[in-house]
Amino acid sequence: MKKTWPLWEVFVRSKNGLEHRHFGSLRAADAEMALENARDVYTRRMEGVSIWVVESKNITASNPENNGELFEPAQDKVYRHPTFYKLPDELKHM
């Protein structure tokens, strides 16, 4: 039997209207325990209004060795950024 619980990734929505952000990871025996642990470990200073947990093994990550082909081609294509628009001051979180 394995001595450690599976690893979980924790996503917290810090207030309504904002997206869930990755806060960190923790260990838990199942999803229910992962939620409770996330509440205790990551929201004890009023950081959140909603929590998602997902077992880390379910995340498929890109391989850093492929960064060249994946990301560098975008570097010289500044026209894909909407930088030519003026953002109104009232617009936050962009």
């Binding site: 619980w5 923790l26 260990r27 838990a28 025996a29 229910e32 325990m33 409770e36 642990n37 509440r39 205790d40 470990v41 004890r44």
Partner: protein, 249 residues
């Protein structure tokens, strides 16, 4: 007013002593996650203690502070029940003690919210949200350990059996003046008993644990007659104020 002062201590001392017990686990919990969880509960309880003691100090009117009440009483002047002072032994005891306490605490605060004393009612309203979570945490763990491996089930059962003799004292009305009951300030503890045992039996059976058959219960904490464990706990708790009177940091 003496009766009200004493009554507040019979409530608050439980929170202080259990908070201190759980605080002992800070940095020593079985895993990072459970370590933080039990110390969060500890801090909730100490926070509740502060509200009660501040109110008690005001009622007493002798210029004492919450810290005087927390740190400068003798062992026999603490009115907590025996259950909360029992040592941590192993995680099964921590969880068993917590669950047996939380179930009572939740029922108690549900009633205290309707107290004729507005301040006690307000403290109860704030605290019950915290305690609702404590109860879920400890109840989940009793089920996990009870309905877990042979080893975890054995340890959980051992803890429940060893702690069981202290359970009935929760409903003992020692320290509750009759005027407080008549004025609807204090909670009638005997009225909580049936719901308490019903909930505990149900959870124990869900956790595949046996309900201890013991019919003999131990009382005394509420009268200030404590088990040998409280003295050691108070030595830790009071050390700073005894060694360096009026120290602040």
């Amino acid at each position: 007013m003496d009766n009200l002062y004493n009554y507040i201590l019979t409530i608050a001392d439980n929170c202080l002593i259990l908070g201190q017990r759980l605080g002992e686990l800070c940095g020593h919990g079985p895993s990072l996650e459970t370590d933080i969880a039990v110390t969060n509960i500890s801090l909730d309880l100490i926070g509740q203690t502060r509200s009660y003691y501040q109110y008690a100090a005001e009622i007493e009117g002798k210029g004492r502070t919450e810290d005087d009440i927390a740190f400068l009483r003798l062992e026999k002047e603490y009115k907590n029940c025996l259950l909360v002072e029992q040592p941590n032994e192993h995680f099964g005891y921590v969880i068993g003690r917590q669950y047996l306490w939380d179930t009572y605490h939740y029922l108690f605060l549900s009633e205290l919210q309707g107290s004729a004393d507005e301040i006690l009612a307000a403290i109860a309203k704030k605290a019950i949200k915290e305690v609702s979570y404590h109860k879920r945490f400890s109840g989940d763990w009793v089920k996990r350990l009870g309905d877990g491996t042979n080893e975890s089930r054995g340890k959980m059962q051992e803890a429940i059996c060893d702690l069981w003799p202290y359970v009935d004292e929760l409903f003992d009305m020692t320290g509750v003046g009759t005027d407080l009951i008549e004025n609807r300030v204090a909670v009638d503890l005997s009225a909580l008993k049936e719901a308490y045992y019903e909930q505990v039996f149900e959870l124990l059976s869900e956790a595949t644990l046996d309900v201890p058959e013991r019919k003999y219960f131990i009382y005394g904490g509420k009268k200030g007659v404590h088990s040998e464990h409280l003295g050691y706990l108070l030595t830790d708790l009071q050390y700073m104020q005894r060694a360096y009177p009026n120290m602040e940091w």
